[in-house]
Symmetry: C2
Subunit: 427 residues, 2 copies
């Protein structure tokens, strides 16, 4: 742990620097696989599934029988936990629905804005040791509320050709329309171009390793939208003497276990609290199954003492954390003042885990400082905002002259003419 005492603002950017990765090597591989999938479709998907997942599959689509088997194989307790989480996520995201916004901007000129669902979306769910069925909830639930017609899910098969049953159960529960046993770059390429087995989609959501991250970036060059650029997960906690050190330590550790590159930061106006948290981390970390990962992340973590809350807030806004926990006497001050954060957790009984799983908020959030310019995933991520307008004769008379003058000043005579013709017809 790196303890930093009252750093001067001109050192903040250095202290808060995130690790950067070179992706040039990966990019070449990703581009090659994209080219091959674009050209050869399923044949290329089969080739890379064999190379990366070590298996040859007859069919990529998960069958109803496999889903049935998955449903039967997981415990009732896990099922009811997933259902409770789903209910909360459904409630919070349903509340995000917006009505048509309609304005008569000037007499006879009616403008309105409406949201329409993105028709075809793709969800990518990584395989491996941690089966992220919680991410299925976070993506499929709002997609269904939005009214997306096709919800395709791709996840890599294990060595026996299966997808984790909790992922299948959750996907089935949340209205995913097609589940495919395809992972990695070939899955993203497949959803970008479409193959015999994989439908082409308009927007791709979901986490993944650096290959998947680069593949999603590349997909945007072929007209596919993505949820947001990705980076290692982050947590920043601001805490004072009203915080419970054991709780703070447990939250920092839950971030640290994600990966060795996880960003873990504590900001405090209390040296006593910093020291108590440090001691708690040392004792709690030994009990963790993923302690090797957590230890590496904690080594790079930062415990920053700051002399007052205003300076602390400025520093936090400069960082723009993905997750931001506030355990402070002045929680309102931080809540009102925070402008750059993905999701904010307030008080001693609000661990990040709550938002990761079951409180109802979304856990797909901007990392890497992207909280400065990107929203976390929310209902609108699955919709597009469209505008409409209907102008009456009176309306065009009210704004026609202004349009003519402006179009002429921009040198666009045909734009002007479209109005002039109409105005003349009314005279």
């Amino acid at each position: 742990m790196n303890k930093i005492d009252n750093p001067k603002p001109d050192t903040w950017s250095e202290i808060l620097k995130r690790p950067t990765k070179t992706i040039d090597d990966i990019e070449v591989t990703v581009k090659e696989i994209f080219k091959e999938v674009q050209k050869k479709g399923d044949e290329a998907v089969a080739k890379y599934t064999s190379i990366f997942d070590g298996i040859t599959l007859e069919n990529y689509e998960v069958t109803p029988a496999e889903i049935e088997e998955a449903i039967n194989s997981i415990s009732d307790e896990l099922k009811s936990s997933i259902q409770l989480a789903k209910a909360n996520i459904l409630k919070f995201h349903t509340a995000q629905k917006t009505d048509r916004i309609s304005v008569e901007t000037i007499e006879g000129v009616n403008c309105w804005q409406e949201k329409r669902p993105i028709q075809k979306i793709g969800l990518y769910i990584p395989g491996g040791t941690a089966p992220l069925f919680s991410t299925v909830l976070m993506l499929a639930v709002p997609a269904e509320i939005a009214g997306c017609k096709e919800i395709v899910l791709c996840s890599p098969p294990d060595k026996t050709g299966k997808i984790n049953p909790a992922i299948l159960y959750t996907a089935h529960l949340c209205g995913v329309t097609k589940i495919l046993k395809v992972g990695g770059i070939q899955a993203i390429a497949g959803m970008t171009f479409g193959t015999q087995s994989i439908p082409k989609v308009y927007k791709i959501f979901g986490p993944g390793n650096q290959f998947v991250t680069v593949a999603k970036q590349l997909a945007t060059q072929f007209g596919v939208a993505i949820d947001m650029p990705a980076g290692p997960s982050e947590l920043l906690i601001v805490a004072d003497d009203t915080a419970v050190p054991a709780f703070v330590a447990s939250d920092l550790l839950s971030q640290a276990e994600h990966g060795t590159d996880s960003q873990v930061i504590l900001v405090s106006t209390s040296i006593r609290l910093i020291e108590a948290v440090e001691a708690e981390i040392q004792s709690q970390i030994e009990e963790l199954p993923r302690k090797e990962i957590a230890k590496k992340a904690i080594e790079n973590s930062k415990l920053i003492y700051i002399e007052n809350d205003q300076i602390a807030l400025d520093l936090i806004n400069e960082y723009g954390p993905e997750h931001f926990i506030i355990c402070s006497e002045f929680d309102d001050f931080y809540c009102n003042g925070i402008v750059n954060a993905g999701s904010v957790f307030i008080g001693n009984y609000t661990p990040e885990s709550a938002g990761d799983y079951a409180s109802g908020t979304n856990h797909t959030l901007p990392t890497n400082g992207y909280a400065k310019n990107y929203s976390g995933v929310n209902l609108d991520s699955f919709m597009k905002s469209m505008t409409f307008q209907k102008i009456s004769k009176t309306g065009i008379q009210n704004i026609g002259r202004a349009i003519e003058v402006m179009a002429e000043a921009e040198g666009l005579q045909a734009h002007k003419n479209a109005v002039t013709l109409r105005l003349k017809s009314i005279e």
Copy 2:
């Protein structure tokens, strides 16, 4: 003009194909300039301003005296036209403000969503023959409503080192905080990295030539967000015998004058209407100052006869036009059924020009089929959606067990532990 009679759905994608461009050559140039601006700042900006704009400037920032001069140099009629447009844009975008959305998802678990402004944004306004002061309105007005703190505008200087006075007047009217005489790749690179003269921003908006387009794409690799990927402007009109052929022709031509690569499409269930529009285009086009450009675009335009409105709607949704004009007896049918379009114009007195300038809707819209997955620019484009949660002891007792079970199933013990510690403390 290409007349197409009742095309079979399996030919649609070929018929509706947009021209694709290779950007590989441009990419190398853009990357080089980015590297140089990142390394050398203003020195590199000066170099490329000299090369591309043919001028050496002492200072890039527009001075209050220059703004004063611009205000005095433009006509009162243009000023009042811009003010009328501004008022309508202000009204429509202010109506898009959203309140905090707050939900108690389960007893003791309070979740809410709020939007906060992106703090620093950059607007790019091209120079050249058509001074797009209307785009300044479309970007600066919602940015100011959103509450963006820094609104930087970059536009290339002309050979005398000036920016068009209408652009300066509009920028000043709409609360732009800094106006810089920098254009092209060096402007986008400058706003991406920051230089001595150009502030670094979090999101870049605005149109531009293919160099600017590629530069904006590259900016996203350095953590900067952009409004949307760009392509040539497009208009699709669906019209039947209730349409006025002269109006339809004038709208198609106003699209055609934008550039030789403009996409101009008419879809109709009436052969008579198609023929009448064709004749109107031939006669109107001769009067246009930009007729050489318009003629080339019209050469590539498509007049498509479709036997009924349902098939027409399907085809239009497959295309996903940036601008979509409906002059049809069945306008409600099209309004309700359209899912992929940037902005929709309804009826004989609603030319695209209205939305381009003064009705109140935004004219920065998704082209190139991006209407399938991107919103046009709107108030939310200048904000980020953040979530907040506050959980009470009762709340964590209500969802704690579900979190423990899910975290365990995902193999994330520290996530579970953060909840277990809290639950135990309450017992």
